[in-house]
């Protein structure tokens, strides 16, 4: 077997292992007394920064109406085809609205393209990361679960205005 030469040979002290082993041991010993990073999850939850892409949600204005105008761009751009939008008309000034807006959370890949493409800032990524379902029906998030008051999403909206 052709032996490849090292660029730098080990010194005698390194060759007898023991000082290096002591070095390694003291490093781990030091770390045993350092503060812990662990988060006690169900009791203590991680609050993500504004740049975090969690579950996509629809923005609801103060008057209880969604911002969405059902243009369908998000459903069009969605790579895994997770979004389904059906538009309808109302008497209000903003006359188009989605009668049905459904995100299949089993398909969503949290890429954030829907948010990026939205002309109305109506769909944004929230900080919600606790997504667990016991059946496939539960994973279809309709408007009832998606609509979130604008107050709760201000963080993300500010982030988008600054960095998008």
């Amino acid at each position: 077997m052709a032996l490849k030469r090292r660029e730098k040979d080990l010194t005698f002290l390194e060759k007898i292992y023991i000082p290096e082993i002591v070095k390694g041991l003291s490093l781990t010993l030091k770390n045993m007394f350092k503060p812990k990073f662990t988060m006690q999850y169900p009791e203590e939850k991680f609050i993500p920064p504004a740049s975090y892409r969690g579950r996509p949600v629809l923005v609801m204005e103060e008057n209880g109406v969604e911002r969405c105008v059902a243009c369908g761009l998000c459903s069009r751009v969605c790579p895994p085809l997770a979004i389904e939008v059906q538009a309808a008309e109302t008497e209000r000034e903003k006359e188009r609205y989605p009668v049905k807006f459904e995100i299949n959370m089993l398909r969503c890949i949290f890429c954030g393209l829907c948010e990026e493409v939205c002309p109305e800032e109506a769909i944004v990524m929230s900080k919600d990361y606790e997504l667990a379902f016991t059946n496939r029906k539960d994973a279809l998030y309709g408007k009832d679960k998606l609509l979130t008051p604008v107050m709760q999403l201000q963080d993300r909206i500010d982030f988008l205005r600054n960095y998008k």
Partner: protein, 343 residues
């Protein structure tokens, strides 16, 4: 003491020791996880019971409830026999290690060792070598490439480390002039610990003990990244737990053996000059033994989470080209001690 009393006392001592080993093994698993967590800035198991102290019992319960899978290609009798051998070796080796001085209980003078055999060290060496069979047979009988590789590595590794282990023990035997563990402990009274008198022998024995117990810098028979699980790849449920138990029990025995051979056994230096009553003397001695063993066990776990695994050829060259000559040098050193310093 007549024969009946000896039998009764032996049975009581065996029960106590088996309980202590089982409990300490289950808590070793707990501390293994805790210390690994601390070394990595984590907290470790803390859900079952206060600070996770009931975690070992939850682990055992979980393993008991698992399905026991035996592969099609396995040699079934040997596949079942291997964990039994591992457990047998792990539990019988402790018999000759003294854990305290002679004590007076109800007027009987009881030595705190299960069997005071005059060839105790030979007995330990013989039984720990038997432990190789468990691993090799487990690897061979599983009918899997990874297991077989683990088993083969184990046999090669154990043979090469048994030799330096035997030679380093030779130094201890020369000084104590006896193979009886009780005498070896007596010979190390005061600060005449073998670890201080023959540091080279202590280090070679310690390293060999790591190799013998398959602990991390030398856990090539398991070697998770290369061999899946090594010899226990095809084991599940309680058979897997038996190997696990045996590994930790071996660790306990290796620590107890190192304490007996090199760290003065149960002796607290110069305790007999303090003028304590016999009861306190016995309690402090047993406590000293427990503390020494616990410190060594911590060292075993600490090393596991600090030092990466050796490559196979590095392991062999370390064993044959370094440890073996070093243990020979140690014997010469002990001979010099005896001849020149009249120890």
């Amino acid at each position: 003491m007549d024969i009946l009393q000896i039998i009764i006392f032996s049975i009581i001592k065996i029960l106590i020791i088996v309980t202590v080993i089982l409990l300490s093994v289950s808590y070793l698993v707990y501390f293994e996880r805790k210390i690994s967590a601390w070394a990595q800035n984590r907290i470790g198991p803390n859900r079952v019971g206060w600070a996770g102290v009931l975690q070992p019992f939850a682990d055992v319960l979980k393993l008991l409830l698992k399905e026991d899978i035996v592969p099609e290609a396995a040699n079934k009798p040997i596949h079942t026999l291997a964990p039994v051998i591992a457990l047998f070796v792990a539990f019988t080796t402790y018999a000759v290690i003294p854990f305290g001085p002679n004590v007076n209980i109800f007027g009987f003078n009881v030595p705190l060792v299960v069997a005071d055999v005059n060839i105790g060290i030979l007995y330990i060496l013989a039984l720990t070598s038997l432990g190789v069979y468990a691993i090799t047979l487990a690897g061979w009988s599983s009918g899997s490439k990874y297991s077989l590789l683990g088993g083969i590595r184990s046999s090669a590794q154990m043979i090469s480390y048994e030799i330096s282990m035997g030679f380093s023990v030779g130094g201890v035997l020369l000084l104590a002039q006896s193979l009886r563990p009780v005498d070896i402990v007596q010979a190390q009274s005061g600060w005449m610990w073998n670890a201080i008198l023959q540091p080279i022998g202590f280090i070679t024995f310690l390293v060999s003990a790591f190799a013998e117990t398959n602990r991390l810098p030398f856990d090539l028979p398991e070697a998770e990244p290369e061999l899946v699980g090594g010899f226990h790849t095809e084991y599940s449920s309680m058979k897997f737990a038996a190997f696990f138990l045996a590994e930790y029990a071996n660790m306990f025995i290796a620590s107890a053996l190192i304490v007996t051979l090199y760290l003065g056994g149960w002796q607290f230096p110069y305790l007999d000059h303090f003028g304590l009553s016999a009861g306190w003397f016995a309690i402090i001695s047993v406590a000293a033994f427990a503390v020494k063993v616990a410190a060594l066990l911590f060292f075993f776990i600490w090393v596991r989470w600090s030092i990466p695994r050796f490559r196979y050829d590095q392991l062999m060259s370390l064993g044959w080209k370094l440890m073996f000559p070093l243990s020979l040098i140690n014997i010469v050193w002990v001979a010099v001690l005896i001849m020149v310093f009249k120890l």
